[in-house]
Symmetry: D2
Subunit: 141 residues, 4 copies
């Protein structure tokens, strides 16, 4: 299964009064994982929206194992675990630079148009996505 890894550094604004990263930042990091995943396939999400295809979050699950702190360097591993015409599912792991897994989770997504109606993934985008997934299957940098 294809996995893409992107890196980020914890921002001060992401911490809370417990001295650790607030849990609401992880959905944002997962989203950055998805964004980087799609850019890697040369199908950046900004192009999806320009085409009128909005990916919305239908379900989100997160497990928090260890805290992240200001200036920590983190790896976000993103996998596309399900690709259907009306459903996308991704899974994620957040790792500290020292290798410890800090959090993991997954998200399920539906597709909408600008009017808020559920739509199917347009044929060309689906084919494009499947093709690029195969091209990168040998290894994603």
């Amino acid at each position: 299964m294809l996995v893409h890894t992107t890196q980020l550094r914890v921002r001060y604004a992401e911490t809370d009064a417990q001295g650790i990263v607030h849990h609401s930042c992880y959905p944002i990091w997962f989203e950055e994982g998805r964004s980087a995943f799609l850019r890697q396939l040369e199908l950046p999400y900004s192009q999806w929206e320009a085409q009128g295809v909005l990916v919305v979050v239908a379900e989100l699950h997160l497990r928090f194992l260890l805290p992240a702190r200001y200036e920590d360097v983190l790896q976000i591993e993103t996998r596309l675990v399900r690709l259907k015409r009306r459903l996308l599912e991704f899974s994620y792991r957040i790792l500290h630079a020292d290798g410890r897994v800090l959090a993991e989770g997954n998200s399920r997504h539906l597709l909408m148009d600008r009017a808020g109606r559920t739509i199917a993934l347009p044929e060309d985008l689906l084919l494009n996505l499947q093709q690029r997934l195969q091209q990168h299957a040998g290894g994603m940098p």
Copy 2:
């Protein structure tokens, strides 16, 4: 089962380029639901932390049913569904003022001290919590 309802109005800063509330705001709203729940029991969470008891999020699950928009008035329903010495579990529903359920979810929490060590809920806080839950069981405003 005891349920507490608190109200909020969607902020402009909570919206995203899809024109709806970004999904990362819902964990924050759930947290505000927990905060209001504990204030209602006269055991505000700021007092827990002043006593050195940190409630951390171990797991979070969210289902998004309908979008929320800027200036919408929302109800957050919060239930304490499990109370153990080393585990708290809450469930939530976010409702629009018109009665539609926009999202639901639940969260599991562990307790930590300032050094990041897992602890049990101090005896007095646990008793206090159980007592107040019973007092309010007849009806929470």
Copy 3:
């Protein structure tokens, strides 16, 4: 000069590792002050955008005097200090429930259409705004 006061309670997610509210939350509170100001005049900002009038921030100035903390109850005082066809200016004070001023600032705003072009405030909206400002001049609750 017309002043509107709205109240909010500090969220846990708004704190940072210094144990106080992160400074990036104050622009959001100012914005909530503006939103409440316009709702008070029965010209809610959601209606402006529905009409295609986007108010954008051109300049922002903040002075931080004292920290705010989790669960603090705050008052946001908002004043419209300048109303021109192409420029709005607001000023703000954030006060603690105990009366201390925590922060103050001001913001200048331009008007845009959906295409990002600078526009003038539509005649009807300007008149409406001026009229309601006068009606409330005697006292804003």
Copy 4:
């Protein structure tokens, strides 16, 4: 004057219903500029706090010239424009990858201890900072 440049890519969560980045994200980016500036001098801010030296924001000024959008690649230019024992001042410019200046601003900072008392910059930290500023004066990568 020493200038440090760091790069970031706009996150989806940073956009708002106007389709552009919400103005409350710029103070966070400025802060990331400061963080990168200090890391470059090998005096990361996480070490300041570990030593009990808290840098707090006393004043913030921002001018917004052009909007930033999702996936835009931005440069943050950060300059330390004033270094006194009880006052730090930084200035910033946010540039789009295409060279346009999107925003500029500056921030003034006081120093506090963990108890919230105003302090002076400890002698060793001040000397260290001055020394490294001189070393990098020839050119900051």
